[in-house]
């Protein structure tokens, strides 16, 4: 097995390699002065099971190109299997036509990763599970729910009676419900977020917390508004 780390998350890559009692393969992944990415794998990977670890986080395009170009080098170096390990999968939110004449960039990115030469994909809490279907290669989508559960239990070690899990939008409901279930089946609330055309012009959104607690218009972030909800708003 060989682990190769892109530049997006060296800390996590190092931690993974330590946990697997191995070291990161020597690779030079750099950007030329003209902005082009260049990759040189500096050890033999012939016949190896290779994992390329790279989050396509900001700067998303540079990190994506690093991932693609690193993958490209591997079949050419006779690696036997290449798994793209993408802890944060950028572009995942662009998974449908959001309006007329808009792209489905998540599908394009999936195509690029496959075309570059990846044989498998491993990711965490994909924005929507269906994005796995954008790939025609095996994908594994991991869930970090146990990690969140552990931390919430540490914080509320006196009991979870005051905990409500709130999904900031419809897309997060499954994740929020799973967390709530693990937290002694605590209740779930869902923010119903919508924008009318005038809201769009005013850059505001309407939020309604379904239990229902309250309804309001806001220009601020959804998470900020959720934080302002007080327990007595609950009926």
């Amino acid at each position: 097995m060989k682990l190769i780390a892109g530049n997006s998350n060296r800390r996590l890559s190092e931690a993974i390699s330590k946990r697997l009692a191995t070291s990161l393969a020597n690779a030079d992944i750099k950007t030329f002065k003209d902005g082009e990415v260049f990759v040189e794998i500096q050890e033999n990977v012939r016949g190896e099971d290779v994992f390329v670890i790279q989050s396509t986080s900001r700067p998303a395009n540079d990190h994506l190109m690093e991932l693609l170009i690193t993958i490209d080098a591997l079949p050419r170096a006779s690696a036997s299997r290449i798994t793209a390990v993408i802890p944060y999968f950028g572009y995942a939110r662009q998974d449908r036509k959001a309006g007329p004449r808009t792209p489905i960039s998540a599908k394009l990115v999936a195509n690029l990763i496959t075309t570059a030469g990846a044989d498998r994909v491993l990711t965490v809490d994909l924005h929507a599970g269906q994005i796995q279907g954008f790939f025609d290669i095996p994908t594994d989508n991991l869930y970090a729910v146990k990690e969140f559960e552990r931390r919430v239990r540490e914080i509320h070690n006196g009991g979870l009676d005051e905990v409500t899990v709130i999904s900031p939008d419809a897309g997060g409901v499954v994740r929020a419900r799973t967390l709530g279930k693990r937290l002694n089946d605590r209740p779930l609330a869902i923010v119903d977020k919508r924008r009318t055309s005038t809201d769009r012009q005013r850059r505001q959104k309407r939020l309604r917390l379904c239990n229902p607690w309250r309804s309001f218009r806001s220009r601020r972030s959804t998470v900020h508004e959720i934080g302002r909800i007080k327990p007595h708003d609950h009926h």
């Binding site: 998350n9 986080s57 802890p87 970090a144 990690e147």
Partner: protein, 54 residues
């Protein structure tokens, strides 16, 4: 994050924290190294990954 409305934000370390994030006392990262390392080990050994969540 400067708002009083939020007392704490817990995120994973799937993205390496920028200095502003790392220095923010309200934001903490929970590590996902165990999850990823175990999944990689299982893929390499041709073991089930989905059973991690049974």
């Amino acid at each position: 994050m400067k708002s009083d409305a939020l007392s704490r934000m817990i995120i994973t370390d799937s993205i390496e924290a920028r200095p502003e994030v790392a220095d923010c006392p309200k934001i903490e990262q929970v590590p996902i190294v165990t999850l990823l390392a175990e999944a990689i080990r299982r893929i390499a050994n041709e073991e089930s990954v989905s059973s991690l969540f049974d």
